[in-house]
């Protein structure tokens, strides 16, 4: 818990503690670097003020070694901080494989969260503590940014693209959730809270929430409704590649480029199919933009993620 002027900012994760330590240490370095300059300017201004009788003999107005040392030493000190902060930055960009996936769709001016078992909520996000949680986020309109000060984390949420944010909350509590990227009229009220709960309480909360089935089930329903199976159900020898085991595999595109079939790829392949045509197939898939929104695309992707061996069947 950080306290300033009656304000308190909880440290809801280990990363939050590390950020506070980093900023505390760097503040000390600032004092170390700026302090002497400020003190000397005042001291010189007073000691050598005009009209005061004082010895003003001095060496010539250049000194290369002095210049080099006051340039290099602070820079090296700062480089140390650069390495530490870059490591932390890499850490928060590499979610562990077992992170619980939650999909997030932002729009002017609300947040919609969907839990893996299908529960969805608006502007409030319930998460269990001690469990890595990965948010896969996109926007339906302008750029937003999901910001949770207690976690010292934020990530812009873009239209047409997925961005990720992961964390492991370590303290139960209710924390501010803000939109930090200006997004139009009601930007200031586009927020809510993150509720971190002990796992048992989270499970109880989940069970009280209505769910029409998991994300993948909703995706399976959509898959049937949209008739995706008409082309994709086979073994990939007909008109369209098989979706079986597709997720996470390498896809060779027309022109030879290889791409990993991740969430972003699946989304783009549904909404803008002819931008990335799989090698060996004709660009005949119609776009589903306008037919389905970002939330439905995420459901379809969840369904395809779940397709391991049996095509068209949810295991």
């Amino acid at each position: 818990m950080l306290n300033l002027f009656g304000l308190s900012l909880p440290q809801a994760s280990a990363h939050a503690q590390h950020v506070d330590m980093l900023i505390g240490a760097f503040s000390l370095l600032i004092l170390l670097l700026a302090g002497p300059v400020i003190v000397l300017i005042f001291a010189f201004a007073i000691r050598y003020r005009r009209g005061k009788d004082v010895n003003r003999d001095h060496a010539p107005n250049r000194n290369v070694w002095l210049e080099v040392s006051w340039t290099i030493i602070p820079f090296l000190l700062i480089l140390g901080f650069f390495v530490v902060s870059a490591k932390m930055f890499f850490f928060i960009h590499e979610p562990p494989a077992d992170a619980m996936p939650i999909s997030v769709v932002a729009k002017q001016w609300m947040w919609k969260f969907q839990h893996p078992q299908g529960q969805s909520e608006i502007n409030t996000l319930h998460v269990p503590i001690g469990q890595p949680v990965k948010l896969t986020m996109t926007s339906q309109d302008v750029i937003h940014s999901l910001y949770v000060p207690a976690l010292r984390l934020k990530q812009d949420v873009l239209p047409g693209r997925y961005t990720e944010l992961w964390f492991t909350a370590t303290r139960p509590g209710t924390y501010h959730l803000f939109c930090s990227q200006f997004c139009g009229l009601d930007h200031a009220t586009m927020g809510g809270s993150v509720v971190a709960m002990v796992p048992g309480a989270y499970a109880r909360w989940l069970s009280t929430q209505a769910s029409a089935g998991s994300l993948a089930t909703a995706g399976a329903t959509l898959y049937r409704k949209l008739g995706c199976g008409a082309c994709h159900a086979g073994d990939g020898t007909t008109r369209a590649p098989s979706l079986n085991g597709l997720y996470g595999s390498k896809v060779t595109l027309e022109g030879g480029r290889q791409i990993v079939a991740d969430d972003q790829y699946l989304r783009d392949a549904i909404l803008d199919p002819n931008a990335q045509v799989t090698a060996g197939y004709k660009p005949i898939m119609p776009t589903y933009r306008g037919l389905i929104g970002e939330e439905e695309a995420m459901q379809l992707a969840a369904y395809i993620r779940a397709m391991k061996t049996v095509p068209g069947e949810y295991p």
């Binding site: 300033l4 009209g51 107005n61 928060i92 812009d156 803000f178």
Partner: protein, 553 residues
């Protein structure tokens, strides 16, 4: 402490209506409106800029005052959400493009560069006037956007908000900035050619005042960066008006492309504001200390280094945008590198004061204020350059505080320092020194009370551009608004005593500060043609002590 220039009522009565120097000066070379509006004299054009940007400053400051008043209560005390969004957009657009960027270069650069290098005028005097007209045309478009209801995109015009979703007069505002950009480019070209071609005999690069060096570096940025912004804004307008898909993904565009292009200009633009300010301080410090500037070449080349590396750090505005983390790491490193030349300047100014003979006058107090606030702004900039810290404080009040320390604490304080230092040269009158010192101290205190609490607000998680906020942030917001009141007073005072000095101030001698530099060898105010005979420079710059009042060194 020097008592010179203190208020003296008995002598003030005797201040003449017009001194002989004034009678022969550029100020008296035609009094009609036409003679001002069609002038090609760099000094008169500087005065045209001075009056117009003062007006723009007043408008943008009013918007800031409305925002600060609104933030007195968590629910928003004054404005609707829409009104608040439009207020901070206008504040940003006008302050950045119609005050800060033209401030020191177009007023003091225009006035002083020819005088400092021993030239009669700029290389292209008519282009110089055209530049002012283009600037004013841009200004009129901004005012039109304001009068027709304002804009609500923020000064950053992020897409696709600006290109598709915002309701305000976005195209009018884009046009305004587009037009103003041309003025910047023309001014930059004029500076570069003037500094290359019109230096007096003996004015080698090693004898150039540092004010000229920093303006040379600034002009390079103006010419190389501004076209990128100009084209980018054109593309936003094309997407908004004709649905051309460039930035909006729904039309097949890429929203991050806009951010790359925008910051490719707008980060160097920070140096357009700060380099001239550093140039001012590099003049004010030796003139106050009556001592040669420490490490002339380090200070000179550090300006070019800032201009160069400043072009390579734009991605530090995009650490949380979805940019590749490897790109972010490189930008983080380069952002730490760009601090080095700035630090070199600060250390050299400090070393210059050592064993100087320092006049604690208003101009020097402003210069001291600049150094303190700039150091604070620069070091918090390093914090923002550190990736893991930026992820937390990006788009919060921490960033707002940081860039106000640089742009307002730095650039505006230096602008006022320049105003107090060269005012006697520009108008031939001394202002009231005591009021000058009061104003310098008031600006420093008011600024810190306004913006230091914003570092804390940001660190505690208060996002920027919020018209209302959670109640726990209120105490610091109220403190900040109180500081803004002091700061406003500090800015209003010079307007009064400087204007008062025009009529009632004591006549200024050619060199009231006993400073080096060619501008102090001509009468105050200077005659239209600046120099009777082309000066021949034979001494190093800042070669104190002066051998004679009117000598150049």
């Amino acid at each position: 402490m020097s008592r010179a220039g203190l208020h003296d009522a008995s002598r003030e009565e005797a201040a003449p209506l017009r001194t002989p120097a004034e009678a022969q000066s550029y100020l008296n070379d035609g009094n009609s409106l036409r003679s001002w509006l069609l002038t090609t004299d760099h000094k008169r054009i500087a005065i045209l800029y001075l009056t117009s940007i003062t007006g723009f400053f007043a408008i943008a400051a009013t918007a800031a005052a409305m925002m600060r008043l609104n933030l007195l209560t968590p629910q928003g005390a004054l404005l609707t959400a829409e009104g608040y969004n439009r207020a901070f957009t206008m504040h940003g657009v006008i302050m950045v493009w119609f005050f800060l960027i033209p401030s020191i270069p177009n007023v003091f650069g225009n006035f002083l560069i020819p005088l400092m290098i021993g030239a009669r005028d700029m290389a292209f005097p008519r282009l110089n006037l055209a530049s002012w007209y283009i600037f004013m045309a841009g200004g009129l478009f901004t005012l039109a956007a304001l009068i027709f209801g304002g804009v609500d995109t923020g000064w950053t015009f992020y897409t696709p908000l600006s290109s598709t979703y915002a309701n305000g007069n976005v195209v009018l505002a884009l046009t305004a900035v587009f037009i103003a950009g041309w003025s910047s480019i023309l001014t930059g070209i004029n500076f570069i050619v003037t500094i290359h071609k019109l230096r007096a005999p003996g004015m080698t690069w090693g004898r150039l005042p540092l004010f000229v060096w920093t303006h040379y570096a600034t002009a390079l940025i103006l010419v190389l960066a501004t076209p990128v912004l100009t084209v980018t804004l054109l593309l936003v307008a094309a997407e908004r008006l004709f649905g051309l898909g460039i930035f909006n993904p729904a039309l097949g565009g890429d929203p991050l492309l806009f951010q790359h292009l925008f910051w490719f200009y707008s980060h160097p633009a920070v140096y357009i504001m700060v380099l001239p300010a550093m140039g001012v301080v590099s003049e004010l410090v030796p003139a106050a200390a009556h001592k040669k500037l420490f490490g002339y070449w380090f200070v000179a080349y550090s300006s070019l280094a800032i201009a160069l590396v400043g072009f390579l750090v734009w991605g530090h505005h995009m650490f949380v945008s979805g940019q590749s983390m490897y790109a972010s790491t490189v930008f983080s490193f380069l952002s730490l590198v760009v601090a080095v030349p700035s630090a070199i300047k600060v250390y050299n100014w400090t070393a210059t004061l050592y064993k100087g003979s320092i006049a604690l006058n208003a101009a020097f107090l402003f210069a001291m204020g600049f150094i303190g606030l700039f150091v604070m702004g620069g070091l918090t900039g390093l914090m923002l350059a550190l990736l893991a810290i930026d992820v937390h404080v990006h788009d919060t009040y921490f960033v707002v505080a940081h860039f106000h320390y640089i742009m307002v604490g730095g650039a505006v304080t230096a602008y006022l320092g320049a105003m107090h230092f060269w005012w006697p040269k520009m108008f031939g009158r001394m202002y009231n020194e005591v009021w000058g010192r009061i104003s310098a101290v008031l600006v420093f205190i008011g600024f810190n009370v306004t913006f230091f609490p914003q570092f804390l607000l940001g660190y505690m998680g208060m996002p920027r551009r919020y018209h209302e906020y959670p109640p726990e942030f209120q105490t610091l917001h109220v403190l900040s608004t109180g500081g803004a009141g002091l700061l406003g007073l500090g800015y209003a005072l010079p307007l009064i005593y400087l204007l008062y000095s025009l009529r009632h101030g004591e006549p200024a001698s050619a060199n009231p500060w006993k400073a080096t530099g060619l501008e102090w060898t001509v009468p105050s105010p200077p005659p239209t043609h600046n120099f009777e005979d082309t000066p021949i420079v034979v001494r190093e710059p800042y070669d104190y002590p002066l051998s004679h009042d009117s000598s150049i060194a």
